[in-house]
Amino acid sequence: MNQPIIEWGHPNTDAALAGLAQEGRVHSRLYTDPGIFELEMQRIFSRAWIYIGHTSEVPKGGDYQLRRMGRTPVILVRGRDDEVRVLLNRCRHRGTQVTETESGNTKFFRCWYHGWAYDTTGKLVEVTEPGGYGANFRKEDMGLTPVPRVDTYRQFVFASLAPEGESLAQSLGGPASKIIDLLVDASPTGSIHVDGGTHKAVYKGNWKLVGMDGYHPNYVHSSVVAAWARNAEFGIGAMHREDPFVDAAPSRTRDLGHGHCMLDFQQHRLGHYEQHCGFLKKIPGGEKYIEDMYRAYDRDRAKLLIALAGDPHIGVHPNMQLIGNQVRIVNPLAVDRTEVVMTAVRLGGVSDEVNAVRLRQHESFYGPAGAGSPDDGEIFERAQRGMMAEVEPWVDLSRGMEREETDADGTLVGRITDETTQRGQMRRWKALMTGAK
């Protein structure tokens, strides 16, 4: 391991961190230094709004899913009182996880170390051999600890381990919320089911490498691009007609503020609206889907939503992405190890056949056996290894700095190959890590 270049805990830590994240370039240590990773766990994953899950993942009372906020294990649970909570997966007695099963339905979370039991609201309902505690022991004070702040946006549940700070609405900001809507509103009933199954991929690289990059597809995914050249509707090719990943394309990179960013395919896909409708009409229920969308939304909105195919392609900082037909959670495991959990979405109010085609599209590109995800992971691992060379330690993120523009809604827009998105994420990183505005 290379020697630390910052003395952690030193009064100048913030200044040193700021020096590593400059406009247009960042130091490789952001990706390789275990000390910086530790600080990220504290200053980002223990403070900021972290995406936990979608309420459709816990549809019935007693349903739960295990999730994590950085290193903190949490339970997303719908109590038998129908309220959705985020509770720490830690017995109040000796700290043991109270459930190990990834998901399920239960009446109680029982810690099998000494038999304490909590109900699905987190309330401590049983202490074994209770005579061992004095009068000061109050069961009502010893429930599973709720995460200090929980809030939802359109059924997406976010939580923050910090008791105070900006609200979820402030953190998402207006522009990012509107982009999240592009997934949910792809359903004519405005409802999605995040229950299409989960791909869990791991790569040996830093979590920030997941990024949001419109420059890489023609190179990292050149084998897939070659397959699209044979069959334009192969897999997710049906969404990416006529190469959206070149500067001449009307697709854009967009920094939505607060570290949220997107590959904006809205104009590109509107240009292929008719072809996409043709693709949908070949699927049973596809024609009805189009009609239902025009019934549910006004003309321009329906056209955009159909054309975009429920793919907002947004990264919600720090750990959520809505890409293609999936809700993606990025879990940092170590400075050089990351888990990416990709859960496929089914649109509400849509035929099984239309949803099945969307699931097959997802499978074709994503997951450990997909045509795309493993090549991303492979390249991230190559980057992680390469960044250990520090004679010239800077990672260049300057592409498009000279040509990006501020849009009417205040978002920053670049060409699709520009690093507008990465710069937005790094500005947020710097703000969260150093308290800078």
Partner: protein, 176 residues
């Protein structure tokens, strides 16, 4: 037809001796399939399939409804052909260099198999993978549906139940 119980209880009956021969034919087919997959000879491997086919590797669980859930792999003929085409290009980076593979196939038993027409066969596999300075062991159960066409055995369906199909994993881009 032969299963583990009749094999043990009535080892050398004339009917079982015929079954031994049938089992040997199936085993050799599975060994050959394993050999072609291990050595990335995908053109030849693809010829082991019937016209209509399903190559299926479920994820999260062994049994799922593909209309409502994703799998790792759920390939019909066209999708499988695309998969092999992509792996054959020079820029499928997660197979550059290729995984070096060695798998053994064992515990072969008939589920519902007649030598004249074919049927379902269950087996176990252990597949060692060496790539990028690491060795990974993959294992699981496979259900092959075999069909006899013009005297030859062919695969109509191959469903792979990975032992770790609910766990995070790296790169499963080779043929398992």
């Amino acid at each position: 037809m032969m299963n583990a119980e009749t094999l043990v209880n009535d080892f050398a009956s004339p009917a079982n001796l015929r079954d031994w021969q049938a089992l040997r034919e199936v085993e050799i087919f599975l060994y050959r399939e394993a050999e072609l997959a291990d050595t990335h000879r995908y053109d030849e491997w693809f010829k082991l399939w019937t016209r209509e086919l399903l190559y299926w590797v479920p994820c999260n669980t062994d049994d799922l409804d593909p209309k409502r859930k994703i799998s790792f792999v759920y390939d019909d003929r066209d999708k499988l052909e695309e998969r092999l085409y992509r792996l054959g290009t020079k820029h499928a980076h997660s197979q550059q260099p290729k995984s070096r593979l060695a798998r053994t196939v064992s515990n072969v038993l008939f589920e519902d198999y007649e030598p004249a027409r074919g049927g379902a066969v269950i087996s176990r596999f252990v597949c060692g993978e060496a790539r990028g300075g690491e060795q990974t062991v993959w294992m699981g159960r496979v259900r092959h549906t075999l069909v006899r066409e013009e005297g030859r055995l062919l695969m109509k369906e191959k469903k792979v139940f990975l032992l770790n199909n609910d766990m995070p994993m790296g790169n499963l881009t080779f043929i398992i």
